[in-house]
Symmetry: C2
Subunit: 295 residues, 2 copies
């Protein structure tokens, strides 16, 4: 097993343990929403965003426990967004990570509340001293995460994704949509390491540029996988965007064009890491992993 | 017009202006979610929670602009909770503050996103330096608001309200439900003033006790109004809990019993304010207002 996959697995398990501790089950009728939050947050997944938080933090010798805590908050935001995006009123998906989506396993109202609960809890996690002893660092993380998650980020991206005119977006339109819907949280994940490490302007900018290229490459590969894989391989429905007549990177660039674009972006992303030299080796390999992943 | 109603009106208008500035409209397809957020946040209402933030802050001579900023964040949380509670999968309400609910005016997906957007933006507002120059104060506000809004507060209360067994809750069960669903944010509103003012333990405890009694009285009066008013008077559907066979304070205590309980709580709430003497006059009058309100 490569160093990257070993590190991905090890950190993924650490994030799951931290989420398990942060989202302790409770008895009584209120317990149902915690059960749904745990069902989503402890269901695995690649844990790519937490990995990016932790690996970016490592560049600046951040206390790994602080980075892990922040990584758990970022994963809560990711999970909330999946729960709400899967709802019948949104993408109406029954399958996620190979299991029933939260509204299928529980019900729609519980899924809405579980998403709300995870979104809220993410900010509670970042606000507490275990995240970082310096409150100004915590406030900067919260401001950054709220920006990435809100109407100027993920919420705005999802709005564009379901608003009238979605079918006929051009390449610039799709790129903006994805920069908000998936790019913003991937970018924040890398920025979080820099914030925790009180990094200077130059490394911050380099990491931000890496993350933006990586996020777009990630989404293009998502479109490719959606086009070429089966629901069994991906653990979620495939071809929904195409069936709905929505513009995608594959639709606009073709399979070969999309793959070439993703390759270019990954190369460009890795070039941004030059100032970190050997220390950024795993971030480089992560970009390659994003390109070659099969799920 | 009494000093209280004049102050309520003046501060309500200031909160609306601040929300208008914080939720600036944007062009393009993403603009739709901002429009829905503004439709909810700028639609009026009593602005009771923002008033409590500002009036509690005044006890400790907090900069009114800091209090107003924090008050706007609290109102965003209140509005988000109304949008999501009104959704078809939850209470399925078409009318709120005398107007179509967000999912009726826009659509269900936009309403889910508008709620998510307001919830997220509330934390962005508290994380920024305009809320308070000291980041440790901001982090304490965020931790408190997240606790009040999340699974241990409003989200947990709403879960109990829609979970199986809701119909047969006893008085203790209903009291817990309401302490989470509506009490937690009312209590945080008063605590926020104490946090902004770096208040000591005794005034904090007094304000907290006032807020808990006030919150419960507020909810009992809500049940009374729901029982006795028309939808035209309240600007929202009435009698839904009773029609659904849900236990309510009025159902368990009777009209006279519920009214007597609310009166007791308001008297007790006001007694908690003794240590603030004349400075808490408007908070005392607010408790009376909550008891006598007609909407």
């Amino acid at each position: 097993m490569s160093e990257l996959s070993e590190t991905l697995n090890r950190r993924g398990e650490a994030v799951t343990r931290r989420l398990d501790a942060l989202l302790a089950p409770v008895k009584g009728p209120r317990g149902r929403v915690l059960d749904a939050m745990r069902y989503s947050a402890l269901s695995g997944g690649k844990r790519l965003r937490p990995f990016l938080v932790m690996e970016s933090a490592r560049l600046f010798d951040v206390d790994p426990d602080h980075a892990l805590h922040c990584a758990a908050a970022v994963e809560m935001i990711h999970c909330y967004s999946l729960i709400h995006d899967d709802l019948p009123a949104m993408d109406d998906s029954d399958l996620r990570r190979g299991r029933a989506t939260v509204h299928k396993k529980f019900d729609e109202a519980t899924a809405i509340l579980a998403g709300d609960g995870l979104l809220t809890e993410a900010f509670a996690v970042l606000a507490g001293p275990r995240c970082h002893p310096d409150a100004s660092i915590r406030a900067e993380l919260i401001a950054g995460l709220a920006q990435a998650a809100g109407a100027a980020g993920m919420v705005g991206g999802q709005m564009i994704d379901i608003a009238p005119g979605r079918e006929t977006l051009d390449l610039a339109g799709i790129t903006t949509l994805q920069a908000l819907k998936t790019g913003a949280l991937i970018t924040f994940s890398c920025e979080a390491g820099a914030i925790l490490g009180r990094a200077g302007a130059a490394p911050r900018q380099a990491l931000g540029a890496y993350a933006r290229d990586l996020g777009l490459a990630f989404q293009i590969v998502d479109d490719l996988l959606d086009h070429e894989s089966t629901p069994e391989e991906l653990g979620k429905p495939t071809g929904q965007d195409e069936a709905a007549g929505k513009a995608t990177f594959v639709g606009l660039l073709g399979v070969e064009g999309a793959r070439a674009k993703a390759q270019d972006l990954v190369q460009q992303a890795c070039a941004q890491l030059a100032i970190f030299a050997q220390k950024a080796k795993l971030l480089e390999e992560t970009a390659q992993f994003v390109l070659e992943r099969k799920t």
